[in-house]
């Protein structure tokens, strides 16, 4: 009897963990995950050998969309390497249509939609000199910011800074 309860308890725990996981990473579509800043931080700041290239953008930001082909080219060049390209969309989660179209058009991978209404709570945690202007691209090595560029960026520059 006791064993039964222990099993039951474990199952319930598993279900709770799974439910929690899906709430924390709600996928709007296949290639896009909605998350809070703390969850994003865990994804990009860690001690692995992976170099993270994090592009902050929004579907409404013209220069951001203009530079996406640069990232697409960069992505082709980093296959089988320890560099991971991540897109962080600052679009509203209630209005993701335009974003989904862009993701589809360029077949973007690793797209996160940041579910935060007050940017003042997280911008300083990325870089305290950042005003919040986009496009902005962050390069992280071993859990530390290596380069932060608040401007449009070219494929060549991306290769240069991730070397």
């Amino acid at each position: 009897m006791r064993r039964f309860f222990i099993y039951l308890f474990m199952h319930i725990k598993l279900v709770i963990i799974l439910v929690f996981f899906f709430i924390a990473h709600k996928p709007i579509a296949q290639n896009i995950q909605v998350l809070k800043f703390d969850a994003l931080k865990q994804c990009i700041y860690n001690n692995s050998d992976t170099v993270y290239v994090v592009n902050f953008f929004a579907s409404w930001c013209k220069p951001c969309i203009k530079e996406i082909p640069e990232f697409v080219n960069f992505a082709k060049g980093i296959k089988n390497s320890k560099i991971k390209l991540v897109f962080v969309s600052l679009d509203s989660k209630n209005d993701p249509e335009k974003l989904l179209k862009i993701i589809q058009q360029y077949s973007l991978q690793n797209v996160y939609l940041l579910d935060e209404t007050n940017a003042n709570n997280w911008i300083n945690k990325i870089d305290k000199h950042w005003s919040g202007a986009i496009p902005a691209t962050l390069i992280i090595k071993k859990g530390k910011n290596k380069k932060f560029i608040v401007d449009a960026i070219s494929c060549e520059t991306l290769f240069k800074f991730t070397k």
């Binding site: 409404w60 209630n94 007050n118 940017a119 003042n120 911008i123 005003s131 202007a133 986009i134 401007d151």
Partner: protein, 202 residues
């Protein structure tokens, strides 16, 4: 020997402190400007001899994030102009990049949205550079101190761009109320998302 060493350390520390404070002072001082308003007249800070301060908002027509704010800018001006703190909006966008932000389009926008404040065209982007404005919308509260204009607040207008009904902190409004009450501004800098003001490279 020891005293010389410690004295030199003291001098160096003093030097660093003094240069830092000078740099800060220069950063915060704002130079008056003269820009063309949407009504065809030129506007300067000195046109308002009775103003205690100003709410200066760098904004533009094209940026979707800036588009969320015109009704709130109108409210701010309604609230604070009678108290001696008028609002001035400035567009410093590079018009080579955005046709929407050319002077004729600013005029159309101001009429459509019934702006009750000046909407100035910073064609050469000099005023944005003086303020170190980096994006739209980017708000400043400047205050008159010893006949100088000093930046007291810079950053977001409030804490929720997308959903005005869910705003819990109106940063600009709070700063102005604090200044009017001769208090220190509690939150003097905030961050928000916005469209980068791309400065033309010479």
């Amino acid at each position: 020997m020891k005293t010389i060493k410690s004295l030199s350390i003291l001098w160096i520390t003093l030097l660093i402190i003094s240069t830092n404070s000078f740099a800060q002072k220069n950063n915060k001082d704002i130079v008056d400007f003269k820009l063309k308003n949407v009504d065809g007249n030129f506007v300067s800070l000195s046109d308002y001899p009775d103003a205690k301060g100003f709410i200066i908002v760098f904004t533009c027509n094209h940026c979707p994030f800036a588009k969320l704010y015109p009704p709130r800018l109108i409210d701010l001006n309604n609230k604070f102009k009678p108290l001696g703190v008028p609002l001035i909006a400035i567009s410093s966008t590079d018009t080579m990049m955005y046709e929407e932000d050319t002077y004729p389009n600013l005029v159309i926008k101001a009429n459509e949205e019934h702006f009750n404040f000046p909407y100035l065209f910073d064609e050469m982007q000099v005023v944005a550079k003086n303020f170190k404005a980096q994006k739209t919308p980017h708000a400043y509260v400047i205050w008159k101190e010893n006949n100088q204009w000093v930046v007291k607040y810079n950053g977001a207008i409030d804490d929720n761009g997308m959903e005005p009904e869910k705003v819990t902190e109106s940063y600009v409004s709070n700063a102005v109320y604090e200044l009017l009450a001769n208090q220190l501004v509690k939150t003097s800098e905030t961050k928000s998302i916005g469209c980068q003001i791309a400065f033309r490279r010479k």
